[in-house]
């Protein structure tokens, strides 16, 4: 190990070693929606603010991951209709007790898919898999063709058309990992909702957590574990996600597809269909030209 890695040690006193798979386990039941991860990410990665736009329907004014927002905390606000009644119109019990209502928070991030569609789409080889098994856009190679943006099944990666003209997304703090530091968002998370570590260890931790929550009656399951405790979802096409989540409502509620599909599987079938059509078309054209000679 180099001196840099010796000096800085990951959570649990374990060094971050190239060759292992690293990722995030985001336990949404621990998230308090403080958005410290968003801020830490912006600060560490020198990302610009996106302006002060108010959505008007939610306290979440970030709304979405983008080229310049690599962590985003969703505020899923599940409220009764009465929430939107004027306060005075409510009965005393309605004013204070709303047993069915809840806020779900989820700190969303690039999933660092095992079979990453953005990587498979990239025609320049700019998007690579690093020695930490994360997915990284090499900024000095990307030419901003935008195909990765259309390929990502989670709407994560984006071309910064106003700025650099290149694709940007979470790097899983590649620069920090290199120096043996955990990513900024995980470091700053005050409730350990975002946990960083080797994926196999995170999965083990997540399993225990799911069992614990279920024992308390909370319908927890994992999203992105590639089959482990994935109830309402399926990410096996992508081979699982290195950044996976613990959810307690259906995936769509968190804006995640129930079945994450791998777009590149359409390449071979599509080309085959086109090839068949091409042969038929060329033959038909030749015949048409021959018949009219």
């Amino acid at each position: 190990m180099t001196a840099a890695v010796d000096g800085a040690v990951a959570r649990g006193g374990e060094a971050i070693t190239p060759g292992r798979s690293y990722g995030f386990f985001t336990d949404t039941t621990l998230c308090i929606g403080c958005k410290a991860c968003e801020v830490a990410c912006k600060q560490w990665n020198n990302l610009p603010a996106e302006g002060f736009h108010f959505t008007g329907v939610s306290y979440d004014n970030t709304r979405d991951l983008s080229a310049t927002t690599w962590r985003h905390v969703l505020f899923v606000e599940q409220f009764d209709e009465s929430r939107f009644e004027p306060w005075a119109n409510l009965t005393a019990s309605e004013q204070w007790a709303r047993p069915g209502e809840r806020w779900l928070f989820m700190s969303d991030v690039c999933k660092h898919c095992v079979n990453a569609p953005c990587l498979e789409a990239c025609p320049t080889g700019s998007i690579i898999r690093t020695e930490f098994d994360t997915v990284l856009v090499q900024q000095d190679v990307c030419n901003g063709c935008g195909y990765c943006q259309a390929a990502c099944p989670f709407g994560v990666i984006e071309i910064d058309r106003q700025g650099t003209g290149k694709a940007h997304k979470c790097t899983l703090c590649y620069d920090r990992l290199k120096d043996g530091l955990e990513p900024a968002c995980a470091k700053t998370c005050p409730t350990d909702s975002i946990q960083f570590g080797p994926v196999d260890e995170l999965l083990e931790r997540a399993r225990v957590r799911v069992a614990e929550l279920r024992a308390r009656g909370i319908p927890a399951y994992l999203y992105g574990s590639g089959g482990v405790l994935e109830d309402d979802c399926d990410t096996s096409d992508l081979g699982g996600l290195n950044a996976f989540f613990l959810l307690i409502d259906r995936p769509e509620v968190y804006n995640l597809p129930a079945v994450a599909k791998r777009p590149s599987t359409n390449t071979a079938t599509g080309l085959l269909a086109a090839a068949l059509a091409g042969v038929a078309l060329a033959a038909a054209t030749m015949l048409a030209f021959r018949s009219g000679r």
């Binding site: 789409a121 063709c145 259309a150 279920r214 405790l229 769509e252 390449t267 599509g270 080309l271 090839a275």
Partner: protein, 431 residues
């Protein structure tokens, strides 16, 4: 203990207890999940934020590139077919070669202009990635492009130095034919890969039509390329009437195939919700595209492909054309130009509409939910929601340990998944 489905200003939200008291968990959890499932997966999203991002391409760059790329492919096919199977009419071959080069040059320019960093376009040639149609397309362009250049150079030599010069003979002879045949598979690839490029994305409206977009774009490209050649020879009166009939016949075939594929494609596209609430403008454009851009030119080309009937008439027509040429006169065929123009407009409309559908679809969460709908598994069947039998509790791994398991009924169904849940290492081992 109420579970309710309710409309909020930003969509539908589900209400349910998060932590019910002991002993009540089962029914409650089941109800909460079923309430959502029965409401249908289309119902919700995160505040209407699109779950996938649409392609960042400008409509005047990429769809237009698809169009001119298709034209290049089709015109190359026209030149090759005239050379190999037709009578090697120089008017057709000349137009085909020049249009192919022009289309490729224009298309490459449009593609580069749409890059976020145009000066880095050569980075596309760093790697070959067979899973990425974008990468394959870059290589297709950079191999077909030079071939169209060679074709055009041969044609230029033939035109400038004379048809019976050394280069003119090569151009009309074995070298020209070899270049035509070598470029033919590449031309067909350029015509078809653009549809596959759209299909291999996470944009629901495109990925849904994964088998159809490639053939549709290719067929349309061929029809458009034949039309472009036909437009030139009809405007310049530069091909024999027989060669024009050949072009029309092939064009009619391609248009017929395009029409069939388009109807199959509509069928497939209509499986997504966003296709059922298109604007009037889009509907009108599509109707015009099919009516004026496919059916009308199909009818015209069918007629032009067989008219005039009778050997004597055809001979006279040929003589008149030869006379015109000998006198250096040209007679523009309005009918031929109309058919070609309509076909070309239809082809452009097809690309623009397909691109537009993709943008709308990527912005519509319900399209992604429908596209990403689970199709199998015990918890999946109930999810589609026709008020069927109660959904089994979807907690395979944790069920045995949890105190709230429903006890019987569905245990057998989920046993297999339960085993999977015990082995978190399984997924990594497969890597």
């Amino acid at each position: 203990m109420s579970v309710a489905q309710t409309e909020t200003p930003y969509g539908q939200a589900r209400i349910g207890l998060v932590e019910p008291g002991p002993g009540q968990v089962d029914a409650q959890v089941l109800d909460v999940r079923r309430a959502g499932q029965l409401a249908g997966r289309e119902a919700e999203s995160y505040q209407g934020v699109p779950p996938v991002k649409k392609a960042p391409w400008e409509w005047y760059y990429i769809p237009v590139y698809f169009w001119v790329g298709g034209i290049a492919a089709g015109s190359w096919l026209a030149a090759a077919a005239e050379d190999v199977a037709g009578a090697n009419d120089r008017g057709v071959v000349r137009a085909g070669r020049y249009i192919a080069l022009g289309g490729i040059l224009a298309g490459t320019g449009l593609l580069i202009a749409d890059l976020g960093r145009p000066e880095r376009f050569l980075n596309m040639l760093r790697i070959v990635r067979t899973r990425s149609p974008m990468s394959l397309g870059a290589w297709g362009l950079s191999t077909f492009g030079p071939l169209t250049g060679i074709g055009a150079a041969l044609q230029l030599a033939e035109d400038v130095l004379g048809r019976d010069s050394r280069f003119g003979r090569l151009s009309r002879g074995w070298l020209g034919r070899t270049v035509h045949l070598a470029g033919l598979p590449l031309a067909l690839f350029i015509g078809g890969y653009t549809g596959v490029l759209l299909a291999a994305t996470s944009t629901p409206a495109w990925a849904q039509r994964k088998l159809l977009l490639g053939p549709l774009f290719l067929t349309s490209g061929v029809a458009n390329g034949l039309a472009a050649v036909s437009a030139v020879v009809n405007a310049r009166d530069s091909a024999s009437p027989a060669a024009r009939r050949r072009l029309s016949r092939a064009g009619a075939l391609a248009l017929g195939a395009e029409l069939l594929l388009e109807s199959a494609d509509r069928e497939e596209a209509s499986k997504l919700p966003s296709s059922h609430r298109e604007s009037r403008l889009v509907k009108t454009t599509r109707a015009l595209m099919v009516g004026a851009g496919m059916i009308a030119p199909l009818a015209l080309e069918l007629v032009r492909g067989i008219a005039p009937l009778g050997k004597e008439r055809r001979r006279r027509e040929r003589e008149r054309w030869a006379l015109r040429r000998a006198r250096g006169r040209r007679r523009r065929s309005r009918q031929g130009l109309l058919a070609a123009g309509l076909t070309l407009a239809g082809g452009l409309a097809l690309r623009l509409l397909t691109a537009h559908e993709g943008k709308v679809s990527a912005d519509a969460p319900e399209d992604t939910w429908e596209f990403a709908r689970p199709t199998s598994g015990p918890s999946r069947e109930a999810g589609v929601g026709e008020g069927g039998p109660a959904a089994p509790l979807p907690y395979p791994g944790g069920r045995a340990a949890a105190p709230f398991h429903p006890g019987g009924g569905t245990a057998g169904e989920t046993a297999g998944e339960g085993v999977r849940g015990e082995e978190p290492e399984e997924r990594r081992a497969a890597d």
